[in-house]
Amino acid sequence: MSLHILDAGLSCTVQDPGRRGYRRHGLASGGAADLHAFRWANKLLDNNPGAACLEIVMGGFRAVARHHITVAVTGADASLKVNGRPLAGWSTIKLKPDDELEIGMSRAGRLIYLALPGGVDGPELFGSQSMVAREQFSDHAGLEAGAEVACLSEEPAIPRRAVPDSHRRHYREDVCELDLLPGYQYREFDRYDLLRLTHSNYRVTQHSDRMGYRLSGPALEKADWQILSEGMVVGAVQIPGDGQPIVLMPDCQTIGGYPKPGALSRQDLGRLAQRLPGDSIRFRFTSPEDMQRKHLLSELFFRHTRWEANGCDLRWR
């Protein structure tokens, strides 16, 4: 079973949770930028929580079904149509052969996840299907119009399901608050700069992609220092000489020499990843215990809950 892409929009890549154990070679980890919407897309189809999905930036995507196939769409709020007929997102979508699925331009949020039964079937590189465009390994940079996207399962009997409202995100907050774990050079930053960082709004700028999101707001004043390059985690907030934060996304470099007051939680990195240029965010410091608790709760939820027969509730098992 497969989809034939007619229009891939601005950017369409295959993403799973990313590579494990290759950053030591200087390779990016890659992986879905918003784990929340990614996990839900897979959950709707009872896929493995790490099954590969399409990550579509801003929408503008069209594909035609080759066979009977049930897909799931989550993430940014974009109009969804099948053969011109509007449908709701955050749910399963049943397609017949020759049905055309159209994802319009996003109205709120940036990233849309399209899951296929069993996950997208495709070549692995470095133990993962995630495409890291900037590394330029041939055939592994992104999908374009004309590509066939096959899935791993032939399972036709997926019931109609929708993500419960309480679990959906709408990406419409005026200001999105993000958990920042103090670390790295936290203690070496000027105290007023740390207060500035956590008591101001920062806007996402145009210069934001899968490597990093550049923010714009009150500049940190004592930021003009460098450190010996050190290993950076995805989500690290680095402060270059101009004092404007850059948050590192999954395709970021593995080491770097700008000072960092800390790193976003993997969960809240996804909230940031969904913000559009001009959208505001605010940082708030969190504790490792709190970050750990939220992370585990979310990860275990996707592994240990089961859909009720009604297709719109879940229970722990």
Partner: protein, 224 residues
């Protein structure tokens, strides 16, 4: 000093300034962690004076990993199995054709091009870190006489195999990429390929050997 930096990672910091004893020490700690890292260890990123350790948070947690790292740190003191660093001899065709900045480096240093080549190839370098791009190794330290800052405006395209200098560091570009380092030659050695991954590891030693254009072309298989 150890510190948690995310839900699944910690940083071990051994010093704040470059120390040529540290790459071997960090490599030893990495080896010890890998020996008993089996399923919980996700990745290790050593760099100059630090080591980033990433684990699977569904299997273990910060406290447990910190104890492992401290244990390996103390054992690395007396790790005698490592011996001398693995030495890589890397051929380089030094010339103004293959290294468009060679003349500028000589001028900056106030010495001849031949002296730049001699100094660059006489020094034995250590791999302090990998990063920037797949297989890109930061080698140090270049002799002070030929140290030169990065270019003001980076080049949009640096050919794969370019040997370059930036301040007291030197490196070989593994793949074609943008870059701001001063280019002094070309090497036929491919530092990264998707099958064998990175040729160089943190803690390895590197020595450059000058070769002629003909030798370079033969080793590169006529492809460059």
């Amino acid at each position: 000093m150890i510190e948690q930096v995310s839900v699944d990672s910690l940083v071990l910091r051994l010093a704040d300034s470059i120390d040529s004893a540290l790459p071997a020490r960090l490599a030893s700690i990495c080896d010890l962690l890998e020996v008993n890292g089996d399923h919980w260890l996700v990745d290790l990123v050593p760099s100059y004076t630090t080591l980033l350790v990433t684990w699977d948070p569904l299997i273990t947690d910060y406290q447990a990993v910190r104890d492992r790292v401290l244990d390996c740190l103390s054992k690395s003191d007396s790790d005698t199995t490592r011996g001398a660093a693995r030495l890589h001899r890397i051929p380089v065709w030094y010339s103004t054709n293959s290294g468009p900045d060679l003349e500028a480096v000589a001028r900056h240093a106030g010495i001849t091009i031949d002296e730049v080549i001699r100094i660059h190839s006489e020094t034995r370098y250590l791999v302090y870190a990998l990063g920037f791009a797949p297989g890109f190794a930061f080698l140090g330290e270049t002799d002070e006489r030929i140290a030169m800052p990065r270019k003001q405006t980076p080049r949009a395209r640096v050919p794969a195999g370019s040997v370059a200098i930036a301040n007291r560091q030197t490196a070989i570009y593994p793949l074609e990429s943008p870059g701001g380092w001063q280019l002094i030659g070309l090497s036929p050695v491919r530092l990264f390929n998707p099958q064998n991954l990175s040729l160089l590891k943190t803690g390895d030693a590197v020595q450059f050997c000058p070769v002629t254009e003909a030798e370079y072309r033969e080793m590169a298989g006529g492809t460059s």
